[in-house]
Amino acid sequence: MELFSEANKIEIDIYHSLKDVIDPELGINIIDLGLVYDIHYSFEKGIVINLTLSSEGCPMGDVILDDIKAVLKEKFTFCDSQVNLIWEPKWHSGFITPAGKKALNLN
């Protein structure tokens, strides 16, 4: 029996690939920063990623989105991808992973 479906495996793969996208101001990746809320893959819709920024009007928003698109374009050539910037729920420090907290010297 397979633990993960093919779609799940792709989603896990996307999750790890997004660790290559670094927030230029903080110097840590967007997964550990807790910016990525949702990763979904289906054969029909392709890749859909919902993410937020640490604050509205963040000047690095464009750069982060460009980097995500570049990573997806490079590694997941077999499908379309869509990246949505959302503001609910509002990002807060509770979303940062333990690895991110360590990188940011948080308790």
Binding site: I22, P24, E25, L26, G27, S54, S55, G57, C58, P59, M60, G61, D62, V63, L65, D66, D67, A70, V71, L85, K90, H92, S93, I96, L104, N105, L106, N107
Partner: protein, 418 residues
């Protein structure tokens, strides 16, 4: 979605031009301070001091802030800059105006050349203002936007009062003495333009850089109304009733606005996620301590009965504002903003993104610059208060070294090669 278009070559050039020019102007100002330290011993209304003040206020602080605003305004209003080419034209007028005006003050040429210089500067500021106002207003009017817009309006008022004073040198048409209007000009320029603009931009940037939890902006709203009301009272009393006697009380109203703004910054600092601050942010935080010192010196100026001490405290207050508060904020924020635009322009290709904006400048140099500046500032301030020329020379030498270190670090960013 924010579209900064920072990778555009033209936008990159416009912003870089402002940062580099302002950095050079700071170096020029520090050399001029060294060459004329004796000017800091007497009355504040003297040609050398007026010249240095205008280079510091407009050539250094002004041009740097204009460049930063071209970069940050699109962030604040979530829109593209109205016209980049207009930014270049405004830059030429402003730079030419500042140099001619400063030269005229230095040589105390209050004739035709100054009457040409002042309107040139006014045109430059007017063109800059058009660019700011025409850059689309945000869908949701934020308090930060209101601060920026009112700051630009006060800048125009400051320049218009300045132009009137220039022409009043030759064709005496203003009813009161020159110092009366100089007081109004200085208050509106310092609190109206610099302070409001810094509050508007920093109230957006500081919580962003500190990763602060959302803070209520009610203290900012109070600050906005208190400072603007104080300025309106200063100007109307000064022009309509011809009095500057009550200016101290209006300034107290402005100071309540400063204190509530500092409370906002303190709240952002206290709720920050980033516990360890980087050097640029540490410098920025120091600037807020300087503004408290400034308030203390301003109040002391009025509290002192002796005219001799009053002059010393007025010059010290000016030093605290331009060399203290404004300069140290620029020293910090330059390395939080400028490396990003250069980084985006130079590393547009995502494959090169292993280098981060903070890698573009030397942290060691920045770290070294802080004590050099700080010691220089304290020594120079003591020199003014104690009327000691040796201390003034020592402080001025350290200012020149500070300016040189800052220039090297800015050029390191500009010339960075991957």
């Amino acid at each position: 979605m924010i579209n900064l278009d920072l990778s555009s070559r033209l936008s990159f050039r416009l912003i870089s031009l402002h940062y580099i020019t302002a950095t050079i102007n700071f170096f020029i100002a520090s050399i001029l301070i060294l060459c004329s330290v004796e000017s800091f011993l007497g009355h504040y209304f003297n040609p050398r001091l007026l010249s240095i003040t205008h280079i510091l206020a407009l050539g250094w602080g002004g041009i740097m802030i204009f460049g930063a605003l071209y970069q940050l305004l699109p962030v604040i209003v979530n829109s593209k800059l109205y016209n980049i080419k207009l930014g270049f034209v405004a830059f030429v007028f402003i730079l030419l105006g500042v140099f001619l005006l400063s030269f005229c003050f230095w040589s105390f040429n209050v004739g035709v050349l100054m009457q040409i210089a002042a309107p040139i500067l006014l045109i430059g500021v007017f063109l800059f203002s058009i660019n700011v106002f025409m850059t689309s207003a945000p869908k949701k009017k934020t308090i930060e936007y209101e601060f920026v817009v009112s700051a630009i309006l006060w800048l125009l008022v400051t320049c218009i009062v300045g132009v009137l004073m220039v022409f009043n040198f030759e064709y005496v048409f203003l009813s009161r003495e020159h110092l009366h209007y100089l007081t109004l000009h200085a208050h509106v320029g310092a609190f109206g333009f610099f302070l409001l603009l810094i509050i508007g931009v920093s109230s957006k940037l500081i919580p962003m850089f500190l990763l602060s939890t959302p803070i209520s902006n009610s203290s900012l709203v109070y600050s906005f109304y208190a400072i603007n009301l104080g300025l309106v009272l200063i100007l109307s009393d000064g022009f309509v009733f011809g009095s500057i006697d009550r200016i101290f009380f209006y300034a107290l109203l402005i100071f309540t606005g400063i204190l509530t703004y500092l409370y906002f910054i303190y709240s952002a600092y206290k709720s920050r996620v980033r516990r360890v601050l980087d050097i640029p942010m540490r410098k920025s935080m120091l600037a807020f301590i300087f503004i408290l010192l400034l308030v203390f010196f301003y109040i002391s100026t009025y509290a002192l009965g002796s005219i001799e001490y009053t002059f010393r405290f007025i010059v010290s207050t000016g030093l605290l504002f331009f060399m203290g508060f404004i300069s140290i904020l620029i020293f910090g924020q330059t390395f939080k903003t400028f490396p990003f635009i250069v980084w985006i322009a130079k590393f547009k290709d995502t494959k090169n993104r292993k280098i981060l904006p903070k890698d573009l400048y030397s942290e060691k140099l920045l770290q070294f610059q802080l004590p050099v500046f700080f010691i220089g500032f304290l020594v120079f301030l003591l020199g003014i208060l104690a009327q000691n020329i040796q201390l003034l020379y020592c402080g001025a030498i350290l200012f020149v070294i500070t300016a040189l270190l800052f220039f090297i670090n800015v050029m390191k960013i500009v010339l960075y090669k991957s």
